[in-house]
């Protein structure tokens, strides 16, 4: 049988995946990956206790670069796959990762519905405001007037506001981070994973190849740490909503909103019996007879 690591043996290298990332040099996703590994270490999670689920996109390649269980699913479907995994095995720490196109574009419906469900999932979106893997089309977070391969005269649609959507939809942990700031990133990751309920982490993760507007420099000029802002109370939804719209010269990073709410798994009596995957299979004839008797 395979040897199993002790918690004390954990180092950040333990989480190194089978292969090195094939992202472009400088891609923001490197920062996310590194911060995530650090957060896992901080939480002392063993590789087999972690399940990283993604869709399709550059960012969605992430599970392949982490030594843990993972699913690299379909474009836009990471959340439902993760939901099934979590429902089936509530012991797993399920972390969903992907891109802005994956999560806020084709995956928008699942995103909203997952939040009102408040299942204990951590959702990390590597938001580069572009479709990276398909070589540079407008994404749902591409800013207005920005030129991309599919908006040569400038984007005419409003970008979505993931934080605001999350707050109004019932997400219980909503934060924003920047790949250029690994320290804050990994501490937010650790908090989000530890948080019970659905947590959203929208991470600015620059695409150095296809997004020449929202670069590291662009963000560095604008971002500030909410934790350093006096009197900001992330438990106040009104303040959080207001904050979520701050954009332009100053863009807040950090925990925007958090609340304690019962999780989905706490509310489902079947899941209260323990992880489904550990429940006995099948039913007794007596139970079947009972079911049949009801029809007579």
């Amino acid at each position: 049988m395979a040897t199993v690591l002790d918690r004390e043996q954990l180092t950040v290298k333990v989480y190194d995946g089978a292969v090195d990332p094939d992202w472009c040099p400088g891609c923001g996703d490197f920062g996310v990956l590194n911060a995530l590994k650090k957060a896992l270490l901080e939480l002392e999670l063993l590789p087999h206790e972690i399940m990283v689920v993604s869709g399709i996109g550059c960012s969605s390649n992430l599970p392949g670069y982490i030594h843990s269980y993972g699913v690299h699913s379909l474009h836009g479907r990471s959340i439902p796959v993760a939901t099934g995994l979590k429902l089936a095995n509530t012991d797993l720490n399920v972390i969903v990762t992907g891109g802005d196109g994956d999560g806020y574009g084709i995956g928008m419906g699942h995103f909203i519905h997952a939040m009102r469900r408040n299942l204990d999932l951590t959702y990390i979106v590597m938001n580069n405001q572009i479709y990276g893997l398909t070589t540079g089309q407008a994404s749902p977070t591409t800013m207005k007037d920005v030129r991309t391969k599919t908006t040569p005269r400038g984007n005419v649609e409003l970008p979505i506001n993931p934080l605001a959507l999350a707050i109004v939809s019932g997400a219980t942990y909503v934060a924003r981070a920047f790949s250029g700031n690994t320290k804050q990133l990994s501490s937010l990751f650790a908090d989000a994973i530890a948080h019970k309920g659905f947590s959203l982490l929208d991470v600015f993760s620059p695409c150095v190849t296809y997004n020449k507007i929202n670069t590291y420099a662009w963000f560095k000029e604008r971002v500030y740490d909410l934790a350093e802002e006096d009197g900001y109370d992330p438990s106040d939804p009104d303040a959080a909503l207001k904050k979520s719209f701050e954009w332009g010269d100053r863009i807040p990073l950090g925990l925007i909103y958090q609340s304690e709410q019962p999780t989905y798994e706490d509310s489902d009596p079947i899941l209260q019996r323990g992880p489904l995957v550990k429940q006995p299979l099948g039913i007794k004839q007596s139970v079947l007879d009972e079911l049949l008797a009801e029809t007579m």
Binding site: D22, T83, L276, V277, P280, V287
Partner: protein, 671 residues
């Protein structure tokens, strides 16, 4: 009335009314009464996608022997409105009876065939003693009358009513029983006896639908997660799961759409629980992309498609076998999948159970093609028909991770041992991209044509292994018969009875029913059919999807097909007649029959003229301005019978050409 009743084959009761009339409850009470007395019942509900109104035609066949379809006859009819009388009264066979609410409805004697009694029950009068009662009480009166005529035990109905209304308290029960009794007594006074004399077995048996037995089979095989989005006719499977969730230990998730549903089921299957989802054609279309993913990731999952009339939203409450092409063609590229179609309500149970075993043993998605006919219509099954002791085969499932574990190992038997996520000592990523034995993508940096080839071969080779593990198809009847009837899935019961009818009529017929659609047991089927003299494929769709599949898989071209696609299921008599037509060389005509002209005329009347007219005469004519023969349908007022006008309907196209008005009393504008 000297009718000879063959009670082994049974008596069929029909109830006609509108959605919201509560006739399902009445039918249910009746069927349960029969079932508790030890008779068999088989119900079929022809209804529409509408919550109230429209036309519902619920039939129940009661018999001493188990019958697997609704049969050909209508012996008794309960008409809750005039519409039903006009549509169906003529179907009631001599010796039978028509009940209607004479306080509300007229029954034109012209609609009643010779030898049929008709009894108007003065519901208002009869319910007077009970004060103000709900309109649905008319059903209870009718039920009472019916019980009398059917010679059923009133006591048993009392018990069924007590169970049905138990939750509403003793008063309601008592009132229901008393009202039913009033109907019973009224019939006793006003009706000739039917001469029906049942041999009650006294064995109490389950009365279940295929959706319920799929649910039972799945949980017996270890189902742990059921995900769904409501869609007729799969919705009742969702409801069954929700209702019994705690009892059977299944988590049920209603999701935001079918994309979520199937991906949740796949996530759960990947995590190691037996997972299933259910839908109908349109929802299945949304699931297709993920089915390919399940297969390349080698995730066990079961997808139930309870088929309904298509294409598109089509006929949401009608039955059809129209999704074979869709199931076979689901998702891009080549990958193994299993498609199986249960052949009876009992078989639904075992199919669901087997599906979960096959899914896990071969790590593939399994599609169950059931249909509205099986899924929504209950029948009595034998009390020992369903056995909870399903042998659960989890395939190559390891509880511990071996050293150097590879999730997608290339192995001699093409099955890679599974270690579930969460198992200490291992870690892998399941990817929808092509990958190597450990799950590393070979679509990206590590392109590799050789591994790709072997991975694809490994997956596809499972189809052969699956074939080995399926129960061989069985020819029913003599191998030397003149005609072989080939059906698939839900039509087994009706073809079975047609075979009996044809045999009785002197034709030598045998029958092959296909359950496993894919992988297809081509060799065995070819062997069986190689002896056939004349192959007739029978299926409920318009292109002959199975006939084409059979040809694709075996090269065998059916000599003839019997196809139906008007939303109604087959009856044994329809098949018998069609086979006789074929054998005797009578050509199939697609012309609009007189009966169909009547339907089209009724439609015209209802949409254009309101409800107070009806068609009475049909004549085929040729007129200079039309390039096809025409049905000239005379339409009269419903109350007075005054001529209203004539409608011209194309015999070939079915087009409604013109309406010639005779009288000015038409209620709506015509254009």
């Amino acid at each position: 009335m000297g009718t000879e009743w063959d009670l082994t084959k049974g008596v069929t009761i029909a109830i006609g009314g509108a959605a919201g009339d509560g006739l399902d409850k009445t039918g249910d009470t009746l069927a349960r009464t029969a079932t508790r007395l030890g008779l068999y019942a088989h119900a079929f509900n022809s209804y529409q996608s509408i919550i109230r109104g429209g036309h519902i035609w619920l039939k129940i066949r009661m018999s001493e022997k188990k019958m697997h379809n609704i049969g050909d006859n209508t012996n008794v009819m309960i008409a809750l409105n005039e519409d039903s009388l006009e549509r169906h009264a003529r179907e009631v066979q001599p010796g039978g009876v028509i009940f209607f609410n004479s306080s509300k409805v007229n029954c034109d004697p012209l609609l009643v065939s010779e030898g049929v009694q008709s009894l108007g029950l003065p519901v208002k009068e009869l319910t007077k003693p009970f004060g103000r009662v709900l309109p649905v009480m008319q059903n209870t009166i009718m039920l009472g009358a019916l019980l009398y005529w059917l010679n059923l035990d009133f006591k048993m109905t009392e018990k069924v009513l007590a169970d049905t209304f138990g939750y509403k308290g003793q008063d309601v029960i008592d009132q229901n029983i008393a009202i039913a009794r009033a109907g019973y007594d009224y019939a006793n006074e006003n009706l000739e006896k039917s001469g029906i004399a049942w041999k009650f077995s006294g064995v109490r048996r389950p009365f279940v639908t295929g959706n319920e037995t799929i649910g039972m089979g799945a949980v017996a095989a270890g189902l742990k997660l059921y995900a769904a989005y409501p869609m007729s006719p799969a919705t009742s499977l969702l409801h069954w799961m929700v209702e019994n969730s705690e009892k059977v230990g299944v988590a049920v998730k209603q999701a935001e759409d079918e994309l979520a549903v199937v991906n949740m089921a796949i996530g759960a299957g990947l995590a190691g629980v037996r997972a299933m989802c259910g839908t109908s054609g349109g929802g299945f279309a949304l699931m297709t992309e993920a089915i390919g993913m399940a297969s390349i990731m080698e995730v066990p999952v079961v997808i139930v498609n309870v088929m309904r009339g298509g294409p598109s939203t089509g006929l949401p409450t009608r039955t059809e076998q129209g999704d074979l092409n869709q199931a076979f063609g689901a998702s891009q590229g080549d990958f193994p999948r299993i498609i199986m179609a249960p052949t009876s309500i009992t078989d639904c149970f075992y199919t669901a159970a087997e599906a979960h075993n096959l899914a896990e043993e071969f790590q593939v998605p399994v599609i169950i093609l059931s249909d509205l006919l099986l899924g929504e219509n209950p029948e009595t099954i034998d009390s020992d028909a369903l056995n909870a002791e399903i042998l659960i085969n989890r395939g190559k499932l390891l509880s511990e991770a071996p050293e150097g574990y590879k999730r997608f190992a290339l192995t001699a038997d093409n099955i890679s041992p599974r270690v579930l996520p969460g198992t200490p000592g291992a870690a892998y990523v399941s990817g929808s991209d092509e990958h190597d034995e450990e799950g590393v993508l070979i679509s990206d940096e590590f392109t590799n044509e050789a591994i790709r080839r072997k991975m694809q071969e490994k997956r596809m080779a499972k189809l052969d292994a699956i074939l080995q593990s399926l129960t061989p198809p069985q020819l029913e009847g003599s191998a030397k018969a003149e005609v072989t009837l080939v059906g698939w899935g839900s039509t087994w019961g009706v073809i079975n009875e047609a075979v009996a009818q044809l045999t009785e009529a002197g034709l030598s017929v045998n029958h092959l029913q296909i359950k496993y659609l894919f992988p297809f047991q081509a060799e065995q089927v070819e062997k069986i059919l190689s002896n056939s003299k004349r192959i007739i494929v029978i299926e409920l769709n318009s292109s002959g999807q199975f006939a084409r599949h059979l040809r694709a898989e075996t090269g065998i071209k059916a000599d003839d097909t019997i196809l139906k696609y008007n939303g109604e299921p087959f009856t044994p008599g329809y098949i018998t007649q069609s086979v006789q037509d074929i054998v005797e060389g009578r050509a199939l005509s697609l012309d609009v029959s007189e009966d169909e002209a009547g339907q089209i005329a009724y439609h015209y009347i209802r949409v254009k003229l309101g409800n107070d007219a009806r068609p009475v005469g049909y004549e085929q004519v040729s007129l200079p301005d039309y390039d096809e023969p025409l049905w000239q349908v005379s339409i009269v007022g419903r109350k007075e019978g005054e001529p209203r006008g004539t409608l011209l309907i194309g015999v070939q196209t079915g087009a409604t050409y013109t309406w010639q008005e005779n009288t000015p009393e038409i209620t709506k504008e015509v254009n």
